[in-house]
Assembly symmetry: C2
């Protein structure tokens, strides 16, 4: 059995606590002979800044590039509110995305039936919801230049950010969306603001042309980003795969995740291009939720999204879909038994801590 | 009594139908001696393109500048999907905003108790909701240069949009937000992406400094745009006034409006700076909803947001708050009587058309 080289970057806030449960599950899989891991660990975010003065060290970058997959907990927190811009916790995550060329961010928004009542939306609006946001992750306003603040004198400054998209960047992310739609309900909704942005005009043009050329079997619709945000709130089940740019994807995927009421449950994948010879692709897996500094260190964080990130790695990076299925089933089993962390507790459920949730999932396995 | 010069730009889709009800109400107010209007009408959007080849004519721009207030219906529709970018329907609206320097867009999101069940969110989450989004409207990525598509050869193009904000632009919109918060629940939430955008860094810095200098009595908090979008879905009642840039405001205000279940009810105001001598400010009022081409011409559109826009003009431009209150009360009265247009119909209500809704409101007046 191939040994998978995993780099664990637990990060800040609840990151280390939920990552500890990934280690527990990985160790169990190893012992059970279901998967074989060679695990390294390093720092990212605020803790890396505290240790090295940078949000990720050169050494950690080298290890990330050498790994088969990176698992990341979360970065950031009020402690680092005033560190220099270049060294802020998020810079570590952004550098990983950019240097590993992780252009495809897959963010599933799934409503777990047992948790539908945790949503602020009516049960019938979210029950059974299963949408996949495909977000472009290495382009757009996140990385475009110029990105600067100029002093104009007289107490005036000017801030500039630049949204840049090239044809090939739009094409490759749209292809990912079309391919994934074929494995699901065969529908892609592409979102931009072509009515005010030139990048939206090009986005729509390129997606339409690619569809015409190679994916006519997939249903394609276009939805302006503001209108899509509205429709996600009104009736999210009309969507299957949504493809959009880096900034709109940031916002829309967070909305979609929150709709489900299952935020603490949702993992995400950030993937690079497949190597034409080996088929290998750079990959980073992380929960959709953040570092939650308010509950960090209390042993109450929900580790399911983080453990689900390991399952996603098994599925997308290691071709071990059956093992991923077993983890997902174990999670469902624990939920069905009524065991919950505080964030997803409801009437009649039993509230347990982070470690006990990890152990309960292993017991189910 | 001063006569108010109103320019009505009904626009496309359901625009003309709902604007007809504004004329009905304005005529009634005139007759009743409650307000005096001198009304002109012109074209904007797709219909202006059909007539003049531009989304707004120079003549209409001259009239808009001369008016005390502009009322706009809605622009756009599939009919104009392939007109040249510079002449697309939205260009008319964008030119009005830019040339009249309407930098402050006020978008109230109010949940009408009678309509709380029309929301996709649980009643307890939205009942009594009353938030005000203050959106910067003449800057940011909507207008920044360069904004272009370049041909790179080899079938590759590059699209560029530029987000630009100067200190004074941020300061003046933040001041509007703080002033309005003082008349409400005294809290401002400022939103940007300072963790990835330099314009977000400057935005946060300028808002914080202005708060420190002149509005320490108002509570100020900062919320990243993605996190705010999530929180709006989770528990919107935590907010009072939200201030944000042009693009985030576009999306966040649409989400907030949709939360309420009262989309067809919500007017908005776009205001310029007050003239230091006369106190007069350029102003445009329009519904939050769009042109709804799917129901245009059927006589079933909800005219309440459009009539509410007239009320908002009376309040903000004409200093006739009592008359505005009377209109708002008449609207509430009609709703209480169970009369509804189709979009807000519910169990036990009576569905009526656009014209009957206009007449019912006048009957209540
Ligand atoms: C932490 C931050 C830089 C990041 C982003 O804006 O992309 C986060 O919000 C996300 O969505 O992964
Ligand atoms: C029509 C369009 C240009 C406009 C915008 O993006 O500002 C609309 O969505 C709005 O919010 O008023």
């Amino acid at each position: 059995m191939a040994t998978h080289k995993l780099l664990l970057l637990a990060g800040d806030g609840i990151g280390p606590e939920v990552m500890a449960e990934v280690k527990r599950v990985a160790a169990w899989l190893d012992q059970a002979g279901l998967a074989s891991f060679a695990i390294e660990e390093d720092l990212v975010g605020g803790c890396a800044y505290d240790a090295h003065g940078a949000a990720i060290s050169e050494d950690a970058m080298v290890r990330a590039k050498a790994a088969d997959a990176v698992l990341l907990g979360a970065v950031g927190g009020p402690k680092w509110a005033s560190v220099p811009y270049e060294a802020r916790p998020e810079a570590g995550l952004l550098r990983l995305r950019k240097d590993l060329q992780l252009f495809a961010n897959l963010r599933p928004a799934i409503c777990y039936p047992a948790l539908a009542d945790a949503s602020s939306l009516k049960r019938e609006v979210v029950e059974g919801l299963d949408i996949l946001i495909v977000r472009e992750l290495t382009g757009g306003v996140y990385f475009g230049e110029p990105k600067t603040i100029m002093d104009l004198g007289n107490g005036q400054k000017r801030a500039i950010d630049t949204q840049v998209y090239d044809t090939y960047e739009i094409e490759r992310i749209a292809a990912v969306a079309f391919e994934l739609a074929r494995t699901r309900r065969n529908k892609v909704t592409s979102s931009e603001k072509h009515n005010v942005m030139k990048s939206g005009v090009l986005w729509k043009e390129v997606v339409t042309a690619l569809h015409e050329r190679a994916y006519k079997d997939v249903e394609l619709e276009h939805n302006l980003a503001d209108s899509l945000a509205m429709q996600l709130v009104r009736w999210p089940k009309q969507y299957d795969v949504i493809v959009t740019d880096n900034l709109f994807g940031d916002i829309l995927s967070d909305i979609a995740a929150m709709l489900t009421g299952s935020l603490g449950m949702l993992p995400s994948a950030s993937l690079g291009a497949a190597d034409p010879v080996t088929g290998k692709r750079a990959a980073l897996y992380e929960p959709v939720h953040g570092s939650a500094p308010d509950i960090a260190g209390k042993g109450i964080a929900n580790p399911i999204a983080m453990i689900g990130s390991l399952a996603m790695a098994l599925r997308y990076s290691f071709n071990q879909g059956e093992v991923a299925d077993r983890i997902d089933q174990a999670i469902a089993g624990v939920l069905a038994s009524g065991k919950r962390t505080g964030d997803i507790a409801g009437p009649g459920t039993e509230t347990i801590g982070t470690q006990d949730m990890g152990k309960a999932i292993i017991a189910e396995l």
